[in-house]
Amino acid sequence: MVRKGATSGRFPHGTCDPTSLKKVTYSSHRNKPVPRRSLLQLGGLGALSLAGAACTSADGPVALPQDAARGEPSQGGTLRIARPANSRAETLHPAASLSAYEYLGALYNRLVKLDEAGVPVPDLATDWEVSDDAMLWTFRMRDGVEFHDGRPFTASDAAYTLAQILDPDLGSPQLGVLAPVMSASGLRVQDPTTLVIELDSPHSDLPSLLSAYQCYVIPDGSGGEIGATGIGTGPFRLDTFRAGGRGRVLAYDDHFAGRPVVDEIEFYSVQDTQARTNALIAGQVHLLSQSNLDFASAQVVEASAKATIARVENGQWYTIPTLATSPEFSDVRIRKALKLAYDPARILAVAAQGNGVIGNDNPVLPTDAAYLDLPHERDPDRARALLAEAGHPNGFSFDLSTSALDPVFTPMAVSFANTVRDAGFDVSVRNESADSYYTEVWMQKPAMVTYWFTGRPVDQLLNQIFRSGSSYNESAWSNEQFDSVLDAARAEVDPDRRIQHYQDAQRLIVEEGATITPMFADRLVGISRDVVNYHEHGFEFDYINIGLR
């Protein structure tokens, strides 16, 4: 359960056209290639003989690859994935808060999924339409799809799935996003291939909310046992599953989008990031999921014979939520001072070695159509003045929590603490237990470093993580004006005016909010050199085309 906040529970959002992003690039000498074999062998020998000086590359690190390998895979084979298990209480129920994230995409489908630009595209629903007042949505279901147990998929399965999410007893993380606009009584199965949703309040972009990973479709009435059976319509069917343990899925020959390339996927639960990385380097697994490797580990992986690095561009949204309800940060002037004081470029350089873009305290990715460009300005003097105005002329001290849960956390916390010192902030970095980070620290301690996956559509993102009272509102920031702007955006049918509302919302977050967003970093994914056609963006993982050489 413990990682829920960080990992499957809190994947944050999706990206659009990655090529348009401006990257902070390496200084030129760093791109000098070093033959990887020799680096590894010499490195190993160095450790052996304690003659390390002879073996390191004095030229510094090697450049990491930009793209995962593409190519013609051989048909079949077993793909082995190491993942950090959510908890020993994890389940295959997609709507539950403790779901086993990696299995979901393999076992199930949603009504809609997101393309690389973050636009909803058909999955189990083939098309949809909305009434002019954005109150009545009609989804048409794909015909001829069968669940793994042979039952045909119909609109009542889709209705049941949504009803599950809307059931407060299940405590689904998506409940807070969907409940403001719809209730179970508004779900109507018009015929086996038509689902009509009558909303309680207007929403002009409902499909994007249904692309969340809690919305994977399960068979009608299966809520009691789906957590163990995992029966869906996805490209793989469940063979074995054990919470917090090992599991296996087998290719589902009758999948509507075609049979997957590999015959089976084995999932292993390895909690320790270092152990996962070692397993990859030693060739025990092919892929590390939900693991952003730190720069050093990435270097070691890249230098190894069996493994390499793939990227999910800007896949990690790093945040420093400062609890708006805490005595330290309830004063907006202190929050503003902190934002003025820190240096995002420095954090991006130290913590992520420039692999990403700076965040400007705006949770929306610069590639998103709704993005509001408000460049972050650093002004320690003004920060100091604001602090004095707030009653702290001699400086302000607080604790910043970090953990080994993600390797970027600690360098990010440390460089943050260093950059705000000029403005009179005295920050003590506190190392907390990784396993209870999201139960004991997240939303409890006044300030901490954390991350989300990028990949959430903008409406989902703003409502789930910033709206007053949302279960994922990690900074406990509550702003009525912000909430009403979001309501206006949901009700707005005109796309341009809707974007205008979302931009107003972003401005409020940047200027008033309690969340600091220093950067979006590339997720450096450890992957075997045998794997081809790995593709992952946001919460979309391509289980069908991934294959082995």
């Binding site: 450790a47 304690l50 390390g52 510094g60 050093a296 270097q299 070691v300 440390v414 260093n418």
Partner: protein, 295 residues
């Protein structure tokens, strides 16, 4: 055979003078140990003089570089100077070790001597409690304490005290037991002196050898324990330069920049070797058989 019998029996033999020189240590071992400890203390004190690099300052443009003229042992993954971090790295461990060991040996000795002197129920209850605490894995006790109260220095000192005090108590009690039946103590008791006076005047001066050896040995264990805690993420807070933390942070990059891990390993090991050698040498010199008491 009761616990007392076992302990005092074990203690009997080494007090015979002819065996003194048979232990590990002679003066050579003691001096070797003291020199190593002194060296580490000096380095920790003089670190700012020995290196011009700041162990906290990261330089992303110089991350993961091998040894060079500017960075003699290269840089770690955040571009910090490995040598500077290693030189400063003993400060945290030495500080915590010194405080924790002093408290542990003080409390343990006091309890042990009291047990030996008072005997009876007091002794019974304390010894049973100590047996029970020793039966619980120390790392479990440590993790529970640190999880409950956080990882500040006072808490870690407290945790180490809990883990090591019972063992010290047992050993010192054994040593004091050997003294209690001796004539001068019995005579003092016969003179009708108060328990406190007897303990203070007659017993305490006769067990400092054991206490001193205990001190050196517990210190060496404490250093290991503190670095293990840091390694597991329960000890020093980043970016504190601490050997355990450095090993933990750098172990993945070992194939790329081995010195970022080897330097703290060498530093840590030499300090522990110094403390163990000092303990060996002391026990040889003072005729204290510490090895057989284990715990």
């Amino acid at each position: 055979m009761s616990t007392e019998a076992k302990t005092s029996e074990v203690l009997d033999s080494p007090t015979e003078p002819k065996q003194k020189r048979l232990r590990f240590g002679g003066n050579g071992t003691l001096i070797f140990g003291l020199v190593l400890i002194g060296l580490h203390l000096l380095i920790a004190l003089l670190a700012p003089v020995l290196t011009s690099h700041n162990p906290y300052i990261s330089d992303p443009d110089a991350a993961l570089y091998g040894p060079s003229a500017t960075h003699l042992l290269g840089t770690d993954q955040y571009g910090r100077d490995v040598l500077a971090r290693t030189l400063y790295g003993g400060r945290y461990a030495l500080q915590v070790t010194f405080i924790a060991t002093t408290i542990t040996v003080a409390i343990g000795s006091a309890l042990g001597i009291l047990c030996a002197h008072l005997g009876g129920w007091f002794d019974m209850v304390i010894m049973r409690l100590i047996d029970a605490i020793l039966a619980i894995p120390s790392i479990l006790a440590l993790l529970v304490v640190v999880t409950v109260f956080g990882n500040s220095i006072p808490v870690i000192v407290f945790a180490i005290t809990i883990v090591y005090t019972p063992a010290v108590t047992r050993v010192v009690r054994g040593a004091a037991m050997a003294v209690v039946p001796l004539d001068f103590v019995t005579a003092a008791k016969a003179r009708g002196e108060s328990a406190f006076a007897v303990v203070l005047r007659e017993i305490v001066p006769n067990v400092p050898g054991v206490m001193l050896v205990e001190y050196a040995m517990r210190a060496s264990w404490a250093v290991l324990l503190i670095s293990t805690l840091s390694f597991l993420g329960f000890g020093a807070n980043p970016p504190t330069p601490d050997w355990g933390l450095m090993i933990s942070e750098g172990r993945m990059a070992m194939t790329v920049v081995p010195w970022s891990v080897l330097a703290p390993i060498i530093a840590l090991s030499t300090l522990v070797i110094g403390l163990s050698s000092a303990a060996d040498g002391l026990s040889g010199r003072l005729g204290v058989d510490r090895l057989s008491k284990g715990a």
